[in-house]
């Protein structure tokens, strides 16, 4: 953690190498957030790059007393919400979007060697991804921050500029939606993470 603070401090002084270390450290969490929000690997790559670029531009204003990952993921979440709103209102052409069948190239936890297991797991993830795409952009962000990053309701509220009751309400609604869509025919899940663990951070 101290090492991270040192990198952030050095990056604030204009040290590009320190910022690159931060990029290496947080590329997976930021990319995963963008992928879960946007649903396409290419769009996720672009959004993750843009999020880091925005963080780079604004790192001078970052308060060292606050957790860096929360700040960084907040930037990425806001960027993705903006992108989804632009898509909704047609500011991004359909040609720019990738096919629905696009899948991420790699999973961080790729320890499966059984092809059938792997195929089933990919299918399960594809179904989940499709279900996520049915949620509203802010609801999606609350679910992603909650389940992939174990953010508390207060942290989600701070990250998305919402009130805590609004976050609770959105989380409830989003969970009901996910449950409803998954109940329409999802495969049995394979537990690979600790129930309250944070593999990303």
């Amino acid at each position: 953690m101290n090492e991270e603070k040192t990198w952030v401090f050095q990056a604030q002084q204009g040290n590009d190498e320190a910022f690159t270390r931060l990029v290496e450290q947080y590329q997976t969490p930021v990319y995963n957030l963008c992928y879960r929000m946007l649903g396409e690997p290419e769009a996720a790559e672009d959004a993750a790059q843009e999020s880091f670029l925005r963080a780079y531009r604004n790192i001078g204003r970052f308060d060292l007393g606050r957790p860096f990952p929360t700040w960084l993921l907040s930037i990425a979440a806001h960027y993705c919400i903006d992108q989804l709103r632009r898509r909704k209102f047609g500011f991004i052409s359909i040609d720019e979007e990738a096919d629905d069948d696009d899948r991420p190239m790699e999973f961080a936890d790729a320890n499966a060697i059984d092809p059938a297991y792997e195929a089933e797991r990919r299918e399960e993830q594809h179904v989940l991804q499709m279900v996520l795409q049915k949620l509203g952009s802010t609801d999606r962000a609350t679910i992603v921050l909650r389940y992939w990053y174990d953010f508390s309701e207060v942290e989600i509220a701070e990250s998305l500029n919402l009130t805590v009751p609004a976050v609770k309400s959105r989380l409830h609604r989003a969970r009901r939606e996910v449950a409803r869509h998954l109940a329409e025919g999802a495969p049995e899940p394979h537990l690979e993470r600790m129930p309250y663990g944070t593999p990303a951070l």
Binding site: Y31, E45, N58, Q125, Y147, E158, V178, A179, P189, R193
Partner: protein, 178 residues
């Protein structure tokens, strides 16, 4: 037990006691709605982190270099445009003075003196007219009415400015976080 407490437990991520867990298991066996919520929780908790293709940091560095080039280009273009606009503005402001360049020094001096006299006379006239208007307006209402209006205006301004300042502080805090 009714359905609602179980749904609330699931939606609020309540840490359950062994008894509560047994009750929940019994309930989910007969309640498809709560069973679906449990299933959704499991699927979401089981979802792995996706990672970018190799070389993400390298691609970011390239993007940063490209961004800097664009920023430098923008800065150069901006400076050139600003310089051109400034030169144009200065020339435009100096345009009325161009005819004076063909005058002799004596003629130039006479012109300047007459211009200064004209400006002084105009200022004097404006002063006299303002004084007349000011006296007329003051005479319409008694001084107490003017004093009361002034106090009211100050009070209203304070009421309007206070929430704006509060909002401004909140906005600045939000921007600082981003």
């Amino acid at each position: 037990m009714e359905h609602q407490p179980f749904e609330d437990w699931l939606l609020n991520d309540k840490h359950l006691t062994p008894d509560e867990r047994r009750n929940l298991n019994r309930h989910t066996a007969i309640c498809p709605q709560c069973a679906a919520l449990v299933q959704a929780n499991l699927v979401l908790r089981a979802a792995p982190m996706t990672r970018p293709a190799n070389g993400f940091a390298l691609r970011f560095q390239r993007r940063l270099v490209a961004e800097r080039k664009i920023q430098r280009r923008r800065a150069v273009i901006g400076t050139i445009l600003l310089t051109l606009v400034s030169i144009g503005l200065i020339l435009w402001l100096l345009t009325p003075l161009f005819p004076y360049l063909s005058l002799s020094p004596t003629q130039l001096l006479m012109t300047w003196v007459s211009a200064l006299v004209y400006i002084a006379a105009a200022l004097q006239a404006v002063g006299i007219v303002s004084e007349v208007i000011f006296r007329f307006v003051l005479g319409i209402f008694p001084p107490s009415v003017w004093l009361l209006s002034l106090v009211s205006a100050v009070g209203l301004s304070a009421l309007l400015v206070a929430p704006l300042r509060k909002q401004g502080k909140h906005k600045a805090y939000s921007q600082a976080r981003l």
